[in-house]
C-alpha cells in the first residue's frame, strides 16, 4: 500500500482523459485524505466511500451478517422511521446507498449542490445512528431469504457458489457474500450491531469524489464522516490459496442448458505479474467479442452465446475463472474445448500480434471509463482500495505498453494448468462423468 505525505491538494494533470480533468489528493485538517476531480459545470457531486472488510468480516457461521446489516441501514435512522428516512431523502432528490461486497462495503452519495448538506446529514444518520429495529430485521430478513431462495434456483448462482465452496473450504470465501437462508434466518439484533461495529471504521476507508465541490468543502465532509467512526478492532481474514483440485462436479438442474464454471488458482492483485496476467486474461477470455475462447467456442462452433474468463483476484484469495452455458448435449464437448484452450495457452499460443492488439485496445479504452461523476468517484475510491498511487492514471497506459511477449509466456506458465482445471456443471449434461465428490450443502 503506497501512502503519500503530500501537500494539501497535490494536483496532477491527467494525460488520458484529457487535460480537462485534474485529479487532486485532498488532506483534511484532521489528516484524512480523499481523491477529488473538481468539475463545476453540472451542479451536483458524487462521493464514493469504500470501507475495507465487507463480507469477509462475517464471523464463522454468520455469513451474510454484514450484507444484511447494510440492507437495514435504510430502514430508519435517528428520529426517522424507514419511510420517513426515504421520504426525507426523496425530497432532496439525492442518493445515499450502501452495498456490501466480498471485501468491502461501499457508500455511494449523489447530491444536487443546493441540497448537499441535507444529503450528507442523511448519510451520517444512516451510517452512525441506524435504528436496527426488530420489525425491520424480520421484514428485511424475509426479503433477503426470498431473494436467496430465488438465487438458489439460478444455475449461474449455483455454479458460482459451488465453485467457491470447493475452492475455499473453511475460509469466508466459501460462503456467499449475502449468506444462506440458514445463516440469515439465525441472525439476532446483536449480530447486526456487531456487523455494524466491524464494518464501518475510520482507519480502513477510502474516499473519492467528483463534481461540483471544492477541496475545502470535501475536507469538511470527510472529517465529519470519519471522526464519527471507531477504529477497526477485527482482524481481516488470512490469505487462502484457491484449491478445488482437478475434476468435474455435476450439480443436477432441470432445463435444456448446462452452466459450466471452470478455473484454476489465480494471482493476487498486488503480485508483480498482475499486469501481465491481466493482459493474458483479456486476450484469452476477456470481455471483448474476439477473445480466444469466444472465437473458438462461439464463433467457430456456435456452442455458446458467451464464454468469459476473469481474474477473480480478491484481497484474501484468487482464482483464474471462467463461465459459459451450452446445451446439455454439448457440455462434454465444451469441457474438452476449454481444456484444449488452456493447453494452447500453456503451450505459448499467444502471439506478438495478439499482445499488440490487446495493448492498443486497453490503452485506447482507458479514457472511456471516465464517463461521468459517479464513475469517476468510484474509480478514485477503488484505486486507493487497490493500493494504486495517485499518478497511476498517468502511467497506467505505459505499464500496459511495457508488457512483452516473454512476460506473457512466463505468466502463462504460472497460470495455465489444464490438468488443474476444475469444472462445475449445473444442468443435465449428457455423457459427463462426475469424478469429484459432490460438495456438501
Amino acid at each position: 500500500m503506497i501512502r503519500f505525505l503530500s501537500a494539501i491538494a497535490l494536483t496532477l494533470g491527467l494525460a488520458m482523459p484529457a487535460g480537462a480533468i485534474d485529479l487532486q489528493e485532498v488532506t483534511s485538517s484532521e489528516g484524512h485524505t480523499a481523491w477529488l476531480v473538481e468539475e463545476h459545470s453540472i451542479p451536483f457531486v458524487s462521493i464514493e466511500i469504500i470501507f475495507t472488510g465487507g463480507a469477509s468480516l462475517d464471523p464463522a457461521g454468520r455469513a451474510g451478517a454484514v450484507s444484511l446489516m447494510t440492507s437495514l441501514l435504510s430502514e430508519g435512522a435517528g428520529d426517522y422511521d424507514a419511510q420517513g428516512y426515504a421520504a426525507a431523502l426523496e425530497a432532496t432528490a439525492g442518493n445515499v446507498s450502501f452495498e456490501a461486497g466480498r471485501d468491502s462495503v461501499s457508500l455511494t452519495i449523489k447530491a444536487l449542490s443546493e441540497n448537499r448538506d441535507d444529503v450528507i446529514d442523511l448519510a451520517m444518520l444512516a451510517l452512525t445512528e441506524p435504528q436496527f429495529g426488530q420489525m425491520s430485521l424480520d421484514r428485511v430478513r424475509a426479503q433477503t431469504i426470498a431473494a436467496l431462495e430465488r438465487a438458489a434456483q439460478n444455475p449461474n448462482t449455483i455454479a458460482q457458489q459451488t465453485y467457491a465452496r470447493l475452492g475455499y473450504a473453511g475460509h469466508p470465501y466459501a460462503t456467499p457474500t449475502d449468506g444462506t437462508p440458514a445463516t440469515v434466518g439465525s441472525f439476532t439484533l446483536d449480530d447486526i450491531l456487531d456487523a455494524h461495529r466491524a464494518a464501518f471504521t475510520s482507519d480502513r476507508v477510502y474516499v473519492g469524489a467528483a463534481g461540483d465541490i471544492t477541496p475545502a468543502e470535501l475536507s469538511a465532509i470527510v472529517d465529519r464522516v470519519l471522526s464519527a467512526l471507531p477504529e477497526a478492532d477485527r482482524p481481516l481474514p488470512e490469505y487462502r490459496a484457491f484449491d478445488a483440485g482437478p475434476g468435474v462436479t455435476v450439480v443436477p438442474f432441470p432445463g435444456p442448458q448446462s452452466v459450466i464454471q471452470f478455473g484454476v488458482p489465480g494471482i493476487p492483485a498486488d503480485d508483480d505479474d498482475f499486469m501481465e496476467a491481466y493482459l493474458l486474461n483479456e486476450i484469452f477470455g476477456g470481455g471483448g467479442f474476439t477473445s480466444r475462447l469466444m472465437s473458438e467456442i462461439r464463433e467457430e462452433r456456435g456452442l455458446t452465446y458467451g464464454v468469459y474468463t476473469s481474474l477473480a483476484s480478491n484481497q484474501f484469495g484468487d482464482s483464474f475463472v471462467g463461465r459459459m452455458s451450452t446445451g446439455n448435449e454439448n457440455a462434454a464437448a465444451a469441457i474438452d474445448l476449454v481444456r484444449e484452450q488452456f493447453q494452447w495457452l500453456a503451450d505459448g499460443g499467444i502471439t506478438q500480434a495478439d499482445l499488440e492488439r490487446i495493448q492498443t485496445y486497453l490503452t485506447g479504452a482507458y479514457a472511456l471509463r471516465f464517463d461521468g461523476n459517479e464513475s469517476i468517484a468510484r474509480i478514485l475510491a477503488s484505486m486507493q482500495f487497490q493500493g494504486f498511487p495517485l499518478d497511476y492514471i498517468n502511467i497506467r497506459n505505459d505499464l500496459v505498453r511495457a508488457v512483452t511477449l516473454e512476460d506473457i509466456q512466463r505468466v502463462a506458465q504460472r497460470l495455465a494448468h489444464p490438468d488443474q482445471l476444475h469444472f462445475v456443471v449445473v444442468g443435465q449434461p449428457v455423457g459427463l462423468e462426475q469424478d469429484a465428490a459432490a460438495p456438501a450443502e
Binding site: E90, T304, L368
Partner: protein, 443 residues
C-alpha cells in the same frame, strides 16, 4: 414548511433554466438522401458516441418469421463487400473502442464509443454495412445457433422471463407486440440468410435511419463527415409504411397461470393495455408515468409498498410500472409478491383493494412534490451521462418525435396534475388486461 419547500423549488427551477442555457442543445440536420443527423456536443472528455438507428424492430418481423429483426442485428457483424467477417469487431477494438447493438420492438440501433478522433473510421464502417452486407451460409448458419443459445440462456433459463413472454402473448390479441423480440424458438429455427437479406434490403437505408453523434465533436465537422460517408448512399424509393396490425377493442380480461418447478417465490403480475407516448399527445403518457411513480416508484414510500409491505406486512414487495416507449401501444403493470402463508388469491385481492382506495382518496400532494423534485433533479443528472442522452434522443427520433418534443418530456412530467393522474388511473381497464400468477409446481 410550505415556504421552505417553495424556496427550494424556486432555486431548482432557476438551476434548470441556467443549465439549459449552459448545456449544448442537440443540433439536427438532414442529408439529401433523407438520413437524419443529430449532434450533442459535450467536451468534458475526448470521447464520442456514434449511433445509427433504424426505424425497424421486432414488431416489423413478417408473420411466421419472429426474431428476424434481432437475427439480422447479429448478422450485421458478419462480412460485407469490404470487411471480412469479424473485422468490424477487430477494428473497433484495435482502436480502443467498445460497441454493441440492440433490437427493440420498434427500432434497431448500432453504437460505438471511441476516442473522438476515430469518429470517421466508425462512420466509414457503419455506412459500409448499411448497404454492403454479404451473408454467406458459413456466416448465417452458426449465428442462428448463437441466437438459439441466446434464447436458451437469457430467456428459457428463467421462469420470470418466460412468464413475462406468456403474459405479453396473452395481452396482445392482434398486435405483433405479443411476440418476443428474440422470436419463438420454432420460428427462429427456420430463419435463413435469405430471409435476413430480404429484410435488410427493405428496411436498411439512409432514409430509414438516424445518425446520433454525442461527445467531444463540433456539429459542423460531424455534418461534413456524415455527408462524406453516409451522403453517397442512395435513398430507398419504396420504403414501406409502418402499419402493423392493431388491437381490436378488448372485451375480456385474461388470466394466465404458469407453474414451474424452478419458482421459489410465487407472485402476481398484471399488464394493462394503455395509451402510449406519441408526438401528438405526451401528456397522457406523462400521467401514467407519474401514476406509476406514486404507486410503485419507491421501495419505502410508494403507495403499494407502504400499504402492502409495511402497514399490512403481507408482501415481500409490490410494484407498478409504465412503459410508453412503444410506437403503437403502452403497458401499465402492477404486481405483488406475497410473504409465505399468503395465497396469490389473497395477494391479488389486496393489490386491488389498495388500488381501489387510491381511486377514492386521490393524490397525496406531499408525495407528488417529492416525485416532481426527482424529475427536476433528473434533468440535471442526465447531463452527466452523454451516452444516455444520445440513447434517449435516438429512441425518440426513431419513434417519430422531434428534438423539441423529446426535450419537452421532463417538463411535461413535472406539469402533470393530480386530476390527470386520477383520470389515468380510472382508465386502467380490466377488460384490456391480463393477470398472471407464477408459482411452483404443487407437490
Amino acid at each position: 414548511m410550505v415556504v421552505a419547500k417553495r424556496l427550494i423549488l424556486a432555486a431548482l427551477a432557476w438551476a434548470v433554466t441556467a443549465l439549459a442555457a449552459a448545456a449544448e442543445d442537440p443540433q439536427l440536420f438532414t442529408l439529401d438522401n433523407g438520413m437524419q443527423v443529430v449532434v450533442i456536443e459535450d467536451h468534458r472528455a475526448p470521447v464520442v458516441v456514434h449511433m445509427v438507428w433504424y426505424r425497424v424492430g421486432g414488431a416489423d418481423d413478417p408473420a411466421g418469421q419472429s426474431g428476424i429483426a434481432h437475427y439480422l442485428e447479429h448478422l450485421m457483424f458478419k462480412a460485407t463487400d469490404n470487411l471480412e467477417e469479424g473485422e468490424f469487431d477487430r477494428v473497433v477494438q484495435a482502436n480502443g473502442g467498445t460497441h454493441n447493438a440492440f433490437t427493440s420492438w420498434d427500432y434497431t440501433a448500432y453504437h460505438q464509443r471511441v476516442a473522438a478522433d476515430r469518429l470517421a473510421l466508425m462512420m466509414e464502417m457503419e455506412a459500409d454495412r448499411m448497404v454492403n452486407l454479404r451473408l454467406d451460409r458459413s456466416d448465417w448458419l452458426p449465428e442462428r445457433d448463437v441466437i438459439l443459445r441466446e434464447r436458451g440462456q437469457t430467456l428459457e433459463s428463467s421462469p420470470d422471463r418466460q412468464f413475462g413472454e406468456q403474459l405479453r402473448a396473452a395481452l396482445y390479441q392482434n398486435h405483433p407486440y405479443g411476440r418476443p423480440i428474440i422470436g419463438w424458438r420454432h420460428e427462429m429455427e427456420q430463419l435463413t440468410g435469405e430471409i435476413a437479406t430480404d429484410f435488410y434490403r427493405v428496411h436498411y437505408s439512409p432514409n430509414n435511419a438516424i445518425l446520433v453523434v454525442a461527445g467531444d465533436v463540433e456539429a459542423e465537422d460531424v455534418l461534413e463527415l456524415a455527408r462524406e460517408y453516409y451522403g453517397p448512399i442512395p435513398a430507398v424509393e419504396d420504403l414501406p409504411e409502418r402499419h402493423r396490425p392493431q388491437e381490436p377493442p378488448q372485451l375480456a380480461e385474461r388470466r394466465v397461470i404458469m407453474e414451474d418447478a424452478r419458482v421459489a417465490q410465487p407472485y402476481v403480475h398484471r399488464l394493462y393495455l394503455t395509451p402510449t407516448r406519441t408526438p401528438d399527445d405526451q401528456r397522457q403518457a406523462a400521467a401514467y408515468q407519474v401514476l406509476a411513480a406514486l404507486l410503485g416508484g419507491s421501495a419505502q414510500t410508494s403507495i403499494l409498498e407502504r400499504r402492502l409491505t409495511y402497514d399490512e406486512g403481507i408482501a415481500i414487495s409490490a410494484w407498478a410500472g409504465y412503459s410508453g416507449s412503444g410506437l403503437d401501444s403502452g403497458t401499465f403493470t402492477l404486481g405483488i409478491m406475497p410473504v409465505d402463508g399468503v395465497s396469490l388469491d389473497d395477494a391479488e385481492a389486496a393489490l386491488d383493494r389498495v388500488l381501489a382506495n387510491f381511486l377514492e382518496e386521490g393524490v397525496d400532494m406531499e408525495q407528488l412534490e417529492r416525485v416532481r423534485m426527482q424529475i427536476r433533479a433528473e434533468a440535471i443528472y442526465q447531463l452527466d451521462d452523454t451516452q444516455a442522452r444520445a440513447q434517449s434522443l435516438g429512441a425518440d427520433l426513431a419513434l417519430g418525435f422531434t428534438v423539441e418534443q423529446s426535450e419537452e418530456w421532463l417538463d411535461l412530467l413535472e406539469q402533470v396534475t393530480p386530476e390527470e393522474i386520477m383520470a389515468a388511473a380510472r382508465r386502467l381497464d380490466r377488460h384490456a388486461s391480463v393477470t398472471g400468477w407464477l408459482r411452483g409446481v404443487e407437490e
